[in-house]
């Protein structure tokens, strides 16, 4: 197949072939990082705007570095420096950016659907860098890329996603991608944060982590998002760690080759103990490295086609 999408809004709308196409393209771009000159001219002369209405350092930096390695020019705009604070609508801000001939717009927004709204109205490529609790497709892709790199496949693997699933766009993107590629996904967490409703997406729901860990090939721990929590959903950090944290003790239940993942930033001692986060099974820093390759692939594919 060939690639023909200008936007990446979510993993839900991608086919398994398209996901694999991105992963294989990322293989090629990962190798660029090992060259003497870590830069290719693929997007030379293109302008990328990192438009982060919600704060983010690691995703924004990763996109920025990916764009540099593709020779694109980058402008960063955050909510506080944009005219959004002066009452300009999202659409007007975006149309102004397009009037400046921006070719690629990387958008992080607190409202689900914001990237889609803009993609339908702009000629520029729109890349979703996380929209509300909807999707974070490049995070999902880099998680899947890392699993595929370490285990050689996705099909048939048991993947446990633990934590605040209800509010997590990372979980959603992972669920869509992993199930399309044939993994058995189990969501683990308190019933307030992991309702049975999720079973409609073709996954298993469990509220007992100790039953899930011994069978898992991958454990992906999500950050407890204090900023999105309301008291009624969440019992308290100490209780969460006792019931669902990947403590040193609990890590003994894991198979020796089980991968431990975390999208970062880590709350050490809350969802994961330091020794586990820094242990041999942890691929948390591989996720960061692979994120760069995956984002290069996505920018190259979406920004490289004629619109």
């Amino acid at each position: 197949m060939n690639w023909n999408r200008k936007d990446l809004l979510g993993i839900r709308e991608l086919s398994a072939d398209e996901i694999n196409f991105i992963l294989q393209t990322a293989d090629a771009f990962k190798q660029v990082g090992t060259r003497e000159i870590k830069k290719v001219p693929a997007l030379r002369g293109k302008t990328l705007i990192n438009f982060f209405v919600e704060p983010s350092t690691r995703t924004r930096t990763s996109f920025e570095l990916a764009a540099f390695r593709l020779s694109a020019d980058v402008i960063n705009i955050s909510a506080s420096t944009s005219s959004l604070t002066k009452g300009e609508t999202l659409k007007d801000t975006a149309r102004n950016l397009e009037a400046l001939h921006a070719d690629i717009l990387v958008l992080r927004h607190s409202s689900a659907g914001a990237p889609q709204f803009l993609a339908q109205r702009l000629k520029s490529s729109v890349i979703n860098a996380g929209d509300g609790a909807h999707e974070h497709p490049t995070q999902g892709l880099l998680d899947i890329y890392t699993i595929r790199e370490k285990r050689g496949k996705i099909d048939g693997l048991n993947v446990a996603i633990v934590g605040d699933i209800l509010f997590s766009r990372v979980a959603r993107s992972n669920i869509f991608g992993l199930t399309k590629l044939g993994a058995n996904v189990t969501l683990v967490g308190p019933s307030t944060l992991v309702p049975r409703e999720f079973e409609k997406l073709g996954v298993t729901v469990s509220h007992k982590i100790d039953n899930v860990l011994p069978e898992a090939d991958v454990v992906n721990l999500l950050r407890i998002q204090h900023e999105r929590q309301r008291k009624e959903y969440f019992p308290g950090i100490g209780e969460y760690t006792t019931l669902f944290g990947l403590t040193n003790e609990r890590a003994k239940l894991l198979k020796p080759d089980c991968l431990v993942m975390h999208p970062g930033p880590i709350n050490r001692g809350v969802e994961i103990d330091s020794e586990v986060a820094d242990g041999l099974q942890s691929v948390i820093l591989d996720q960061v490295t692979n994120g760069l390759a995956v984002r290069m692939a996505v920018l190259y594919l979406c920004g490289g086609i004629s619109t």
Partner: protein, 184 residues
């Protein structure tokens, strides 16, 4: 499928002719490179990689020397990114490093406008600075758009721009080795 192809296609080289052409190129590479040990054959995916592999076998047979082969992908170095409605797969490049002091021979199936070769020159320079770079093609069909020529050519074939050259290699395409001239 095969019938329509034969109706529109003129056979240019068969398996034996391809074998002879590559064997001759292997001889020329041996003649023109006194220091064969420094030579790297860098194939352009997909078929250039297979042709480079076959050339290395002929060179082993004739020159009694094992030379290194690699892959140089040009997709991310092309000058037409952003002008196409669909993008083909990008492949990882893989060259023996460092390239300093070595002779890199770019290997492709068909030499046409020269734009792929230009992109390959650019791609190679991101890995280092070889002593020299040469170019080998199974078929040179003319119509260059850049000041580029091949050092080794299997078959010079004057064509019309509207015609196509199709190279089929058993190991890549699962079809018998052949070069076809496809007329519109």
């Amino acid at each position: 499928m095969k019938d329509t192809k034969q109706n529109q296609s003129v056979p240019i080289l068969d398996a034996e002719a391809i074998r002879r052409a590559l064997r001759r190129i292997a001889h020329e590479i041996i003649e023109q490179n006194a220091d064969l040990k420094s030579v790297v054959l860098a194939g352009i995916p997909l078929r250039g990689v297979e042709i480079a592999r076959r050339l290395s076998e002929f060179i082993r047979e004739v020159g009694k020397i094992e030379i290194e082969t690699g892959t140089i992908d040009v997709a991310m170095h092309r000058d037409d990114v952003g002008t196409r409605a669909e993008l083909p797969m990008v492949h990882a490049s893989n060259l023996p490093l460092p390239l300093e002091g070595r002779t890199v021979i770019i290997v492709d199936d068909v030499l046409f406008t020269g734009r792929t070769a230009r992109a390959a020159l650019d791609a190679i320079s991101s890995f280092g600075r070889p002593a020299r770079i040469q170019l080998a093609a199974l078929v040179d069909r003319g119509h260059r758009e850049l000041p580029i020529r091949a050092d080794y050519v299997g078959k010079n074939l004057p064509t019309a721009t509207r015609e196509q050259i199709q190279v089929r290699l058993q190991t890549v395409d699962n079809e018998p080795d052949a070069v076809w001239l496809v007329k519109e």
